[in-house]
Structure formats: structure tokens, C-alpha cells
């Protein structure tokens, strides 16, 4: 099919890059936003705008909150078909109580699983969820859309296409192709350099676009490579290559049996009621042990298994704020007596490598500069793909104009939609979040509709304004949508002020960075968009007289 390896690589880079670039653009952009997912959550749910809190006392705060929890009516109805006979009025046999927090979470997520009498699968539990204020245990509304961790983050890894995990597969395949595109890009680099920098007419603009493409691609090459690879690794065992759950299921079972023997953590209830020793004392003991091992002592995850049973045990896991590797360092205690059952052993070399690579991607560490470098890396990836689109179009559009082909026009309209349209959709959901009535039923759904609706409008607008591209000229939609970004970004900041009173002077003077940071980033977006829109306007005016003379010449 191709005469040389380099030609094949160029073909792969161009066409796979074009088709999957649209997906990768979303993965990069929303990945960059997800670095600050908790901060977007605070911006979007004003009632949770409080300082991040450590894991609270179990006896004082968590236990009363857990004891109040029960599965929702919806959860019970959903469970009904999987049960023989009647569902009980209340669920009292607790499989597990657990609480999860990070160093950036002011609110605490609680999970409670209960045994279901007569369930067709006796292992299946019914779950209840709650979000509480860790300072006093009061219940916070759990039905608000967490725009950062509940929308931008799932967009990043699965496009929120949940049907048969289709989105996760599309993003995964795109990540694989990105690895291939990076390798093929390196292979073709010198040749592209020679060809387009030396021979092509109109090289000035192409050169700057290609420069930026190569710059963002090469400077952040290790970042791009590792994030595509670690992202794939995180999901490989569960989604992409689930050998342990399918083909090698027997080996996995074998491993689980030996592991259960080694850990001594009971898998089932004993059926003998038992009390609960002080969990706070167990947590204090775990923290002392971490401290002695020279590790930071924040609790990230606290689990009580088989609550109220003689086989019950308590697992205390560490929040890995002090290193890149995603660690647990779990310590397990007998619930009834508080005696130590087991400390998780030191990780094997391979497990340490896995913890490092997943931690590198998921960033549970406490390091703000590094966090911002992640954002810059993600945005560099987005710029790399955006310039790739522009280069694709610029290289072909005059030729297509002469041939009467619509190819460049279509690609350009899709590029506008994916680049500026995606930013607009993001602003659209933030604005809808501030404008919709607080008590609106299904408020989170309406916010999502605002996101997709804005994006669809951007597509229609880009297509409607794209005729110029078929004549070899720039699409004015680039400039118009860039102006729209500048305006909407400022509107979002103003709406935050108007609806919550948290204007920048206030958030900055009180040092409340989650909201101040989002507002400042929105303003920075507005400034960059204004500069870009003005530049695009100048260029449009510069090409205007040329176009009329060209058209006159054609006539």
C-alpha cells in the first residue's frame, strides 16, 4: 500500500490522527480540567464551599451518620426483581460501612452495604450513599451534579457514553492510536520538516501552525506517552483485557483462596453478634504505625466489614498525599476487640511500579505546582491536536477549493466544534449551573443538556459559517466562537458573584482557592480568547482585499 515505512507512518499519523483527534481532544481537555475536579465541584455546589477536612471521628460523627443511612426507595425497587419474596422494610445487617475522602474534599462520601434476605445471589448487597459535612455529620444534598468529579472526569475517560462502556472503549482505542501517532510522528518528523518548510507555497502560516504542533507534541512527548499508557493500564485489567475475570478466571480464584488464608481477614459473617471497640483508637494506632514508618498519616479510606458480627474487622487505609505512588498501606483490626489482625505487607517491586504508574495518572499527592504542570501538559496535548487539525485544513483547502471538494470545509467545521465549541460547552454547563433554579427537579440533567445543547449549537454555527473554507478562506466561526468564549467566561464569573456573593475580592482575601482558582482561570480564558479573537479579526481583514482581487481575477 505504501512505498516506504515513512510514508506509511505519515498516512497513519494523518488519518488516524484526524479521525480520533476529536476524541483525544476531549480526553486531553477534560483530563486537564479533572486535575481540579474537586475545585469545580465546590464552584458548582456552593453549599459545600468549606475548607477541606480530615477524616472525622468515627464515634462522634461517622457512626451516627452511618446508623441513619438506609437504601433509597429507587435502590429497593431496582433490587426487587433479584429477590425471592418480599423486601424488608428496613435493612439492618450491615455488610460494610465505608467513608472516603481526599486532601481536597471538604465533604465526606459515605457508603453502606446491607445484606438482602432471600437475594437470588446471596453475595449481592444493597447500597446506600450519603454525603455529609464532616464537621458535624449533617447530611448534604446528594443529588447535585458534581460537575468536576461527576461530569468532566467521566467525560475524560469515557465520554459519558455508558452504554456497554462504549465510551471507555472509544477513549481506550484513541489512547492506543495516540501512542502509535506519537511514534509515527517522531518517524515522519524530519521528512515533514524538509518538505513543508522548504517547498510549499504560503509557507509562513503553515510553518507557524506546524511549529506549534511539533513544539507541543515534542516538548510534552513524555507526558503524552505516559498518560496514554498509564490511562490504558488503569483500565486494562477491568475493561480492555479482563483475562482475570474471563479466560484466566481459575487462576484468579486460586490466588484469592491463598490470599484469604494469608491475610486472615474473614470473607463471611460468623453469625455471632459482637460489639464494636473504639474505632478512633484503631485509627490512632494506624496513624502511629504510619508515622513510625515515616509516612504521612491522613486517613483516606475507612472500612468496617461485617458490622455487629464476631467476624467484623476494621480496615484503615492511608491517603497517599506524600508521594506519587497510589498507596493504601492498609492496617486491619478486629472490630470487637480492636486487636491488630494484619498490616499490609511491603509492596512487591511490580506492585510498586503499578502503584507509581497509576498514581502518576490519578494524582492523589499534595503538590499544587505539579498539579498545574498536569493542566499545562493536558492543554499542550489539546493544542497539539488542534494545530494538527488546522494544519490538515490549511494544507488542503486551496487545492480543495480549486477541485470543488468539500473535504477541508467539513474537517474545518468539525475542528471549530471540537476546539472552540468544546470550551463553549464547558462554559455552557457552568452558566446553566448558576442560572437554573435551586429546587428544579432533575437539575443535574438540565445542566448536562445545557452542555450538549451548547456544543450542538457550536456545531451548527460552525457548519453554517463554513462556506468560506470551500473558497480557500478562513471560517469566520473560529473568530466568532472565540469572542463567544471571552463573553461567556466573564458571564460565568459574574453569575457566580451574583448567585453566591463569592466575588474574587472576597475569595482571594479569605484565601478560598477552590472558587478563586476557577474564577481566575475563567478570567484568564477570557483574556486569551480576546487576544486570539482580535488576532483572527486582523488576519481576516488582511485577507479581505486579497480575496476580492482574487475573485476579480477569476471573473
Amino acid at each position: 500500500m505504501f512505498n516506504s515505512f515513512r510514508q506509511a507512518m505519515a498516512w497513519l499519523h494523518t488519518w488516524f490522527g484526524l479521525v480520533l483527534g476529536f476524541v483525544l481532544m476531549a480526553a486531553f481537555f477534560f483530563g486537564a480540567l479533572s486535575v481540579f475536579d474537586r475545585e469545580f465541584d465546590r464552584w458548582a455546589i456552593p453549599v459545600t464551599r468549606i475548607e477541606a477536612q480530615p477524616m472525622p471521628s468515627f464515634e462522634k460523627v461517622l457512626r451516627p451518620a452511618f446508623e441513619r443511612m438506609q437504601p433509597t426507595r429507587e435502590a429497593i425497587d431496582a433490587m426487587r426483581p433479584r429477590v425471592n419474596g418480599q423486601m424488608p422494610a428496613t435493612f439492618d445487617k450491615v455488610v460494610s460501612w465505608s467513608a472516603y475522602t481526599t486532601h481536597r474534599d471538604p465533604v465526606l462520601a459515605l457508603y453502606a452495604g446491607y445484606e438482602v434476605p432471600n437475594a437470588k445471589d446471596p453475595e449481592e448487597a444493597i447500597w446506600a450513599y450519603a454525603t455529609i459535612d464532616p464537621r458535624d455529620g449533617s447530611v448534604l444534598p446528594d443529588d447535585r451534579l458534581k460537575i468536576g468529579s461527576g461530569f468532566f472526569f467521566p467525560l475524560h475517560y469515557g465520554l459519558t457514553l455508558d452504554w456497554k462502556n462504549l465510551g471507555i472503549w472509544i477513549v481506550g482505542f484513541s489512547a492506543l492510536v495516540m501512542l502509535a501517532a506519537l511514534i509515527s510522528g517522531v518517524v515522519m518528523h524530519r521528512k515533514v520538516f524538509r518538505e513543508f518548510f522548504t517547498f510549499r507555497p504560503g509557507k509562513a502560516r503553515l510553518r507557524s501552525v506546524l511549529d506549534l504542533h511539533n513544539l507541543t507534541g515534542v516538548v510534552a512527548l513524555p507526558f503524552h506517552f505516559f498518560f496514554a499508557l498509564t490511562g490504558l493500564l488503569i483500565f486494562a485489567g477491568t475493561y480492555y483485557f479482563p483475562v482475570g475475570h474471563t479466560q484466566l478466571h481459575d487462576l484468579h480464584d486460586l490466588h484469592e483462596q491463598t490470599e484469604a488464608q494469608e491475610t486472615g481477614l474473614p470473607h463471611k459473617r460468623a453469625g455471632v453478634p459482637a460489639g464494636l471497640a473504639s474505632v478512633d483508637a484503631m485509627v490512632a494506632d494506624a496513624q502511629r504505625r504510619w508515622h513510625d514508618a515515616d509516612k504521612a498519616g491522613d486517613v483516606g479510606f475507612l472500612v468496617l466489614q461485617h458490622v455487629g458480627d464476631a467476624n467484623g474487622y476494621v480496615s484503615v487505609y492511608r491517603a497517599g498525599t506524600d508521594r506519587i505512588a497510589l498507596v493504601g498501606d492498609g492496617i486491619h483490626y478486629k472490630a470487637a476487640t480492636g486487636e491488630l489482625i494484619r498490616e499490609d505487607p511491603t509492596a512487591t517491586p511490580v506492585a510498586r511500579m503499578a502503584e507509581f504508574l497509576t498514581g502518576l495518572h490519578l494524582q492523589h499527592f499534595r503538590h499544587w505546582l505539579l498539579r498545574w504542570l498536569y493542566v499545562l501538559g493536558g492543554l499542550a496535548g489539546a493544542v497539539c491536536i488542534a494545530t494538527g487539525f488546522v494544519f490538515f485544513v490549511e494544507k488542503r483547502k486551496r487545492q480543495h477549493a480549486l477541485q470543488g471538494s468539500q473535504g477541508a470545509r467539513v474537517v474545518d467545521a468539525l475542528a471549530v466544534t471540537t476546539v472552540t465549541g468544546m470550551v463553549l460547552a464547558t462554559l455552557g454547563i457552568l452558566i446553566a449551573n448558576r442560572l437554573l433554579p435551586e429546587a428544579l427537579p432533575g437539575r443535574g440533567d438540565w445542566e448536562r443538556y445545557a452542555f450538549w445543547g451548547t456544543w450542538a449549537l457550536a456545531l451548527v454555527h460552525a457548519g453554517w459559517r463554513s462556506a468560506a473554507v470551500a473558497r480557500g478562506l478562513p471560517n469566520p466561526a473560529w473568530r466568532e466562537q472565540t469572542w463567544a468564549i471571552a463573553v461567556l467566561a466573564i458571564v460565568a464569573v459574574l453569575l457566580n458573584w451574583a448567585t453566591t456573593g463569592d466575588h474574587l475580592l472576597h475569595t482571594l482575601s479569605t484565601g478560598y482557592w477552590p472558587v478563586a482558582g476557577v474564577d481566575l482561570s475563567l478570567l484568564a480564558t477570557a483574556v486569551i480568547a480576546t487576544v486570539a479573537a482580535r488576532r483572527l479579526g486582523q488576519r481576516a481583514r488582511a485577507t479581505q482585499p486579497k480575496r476580492t482581487s482574487e475573485e476579480a481575477a477569476h471573473v
Partner: protein, 105 residues
């Protein structure tokens, strides 16, 4: 191979070529990668690695194999050989993995 003709006529045959090649890279590559993951996982477990360690290294090697055969499928001249190696190799490795499992479990 009829390279010059295929390029001179960007026709149905060229289009079929492209489709078959892309499918080989995507689907054949996946079968090959699955085989690599399964075989590497089972062999490493047989070599007394912890199961999850073996699983992780298996996935790692499978992903690198996927990228490599993906590039090779696009670049190499003989398409039939690509299909033969990817499907044949992938299925053979998967069968070997099941055989290793049957010895252990």
C-alpha cells in the same frame, strides 16, 4: 505486489486494501494483544509472581505488543501475512495460556 497500479487507481481495490489493513491493525491487533496478555499473565503466575503482579505485567506487555503490531500492520507490504500472524499468533498464545492454567488450577 501491484503497488504502482493500486496507487494509480485510487479505486475500489485501494479502498478495500485500506479497510482490510485498518481492520487488521484494530481487530487482529486486539486478538494478538489479548493472546499476549493471557500468555504473559499465566506464565508469570506460573513463575510464582503474585496474580495481580502477573496481571499488571501481562497488560503492560500486551499494550506494547498492540502498539507495535498496529504500526507493523499499517507499514508492512503483505497484508495476508499480517492477518495470519495476528490471528494465528493471538489464538495460539491464548490457547497456550489456557494450557498453562490447566496445569496450575
Amino acid at each position: 505486489m501491484s503497488q504502482p497500479i493500486a496507487i494509480a487507481t485510487p479505486s475500489a481495490s485501494r479502498r478495500t486494501q485500506v479497510v482490510l489493513r485498518v481492520m487488521a491493525a484494530m481487530l487482529g491487533g486486539y486478538v494478538f494483544a489479548w493472546g499476549t496478555v493471557a500468555l504473559a499473565t499465566s506464565l508469570l503466575f506460573a513463575a510464582h509472581l503474585d496474580f495481580h503482579d502477573a496481571e499488571f505485567l501481562g497488560a503492560f506487555s500486551g499494550l506494547l505488543a498492540y502498539v507495535s503490531v498496529f504500526l507493523w500492520s499499517i507499514a508492512t507490504k503483505r497484508l495476508l501475512r499480517v492477518w495470519a500472524v495476528l490471528l494465528g499468533g493471538g489464538l495460539l498464545m491464548a490457547a497456550a495460556a489456557s494450557f498453562v492454567q490447566s496445569l496450575l488450577a
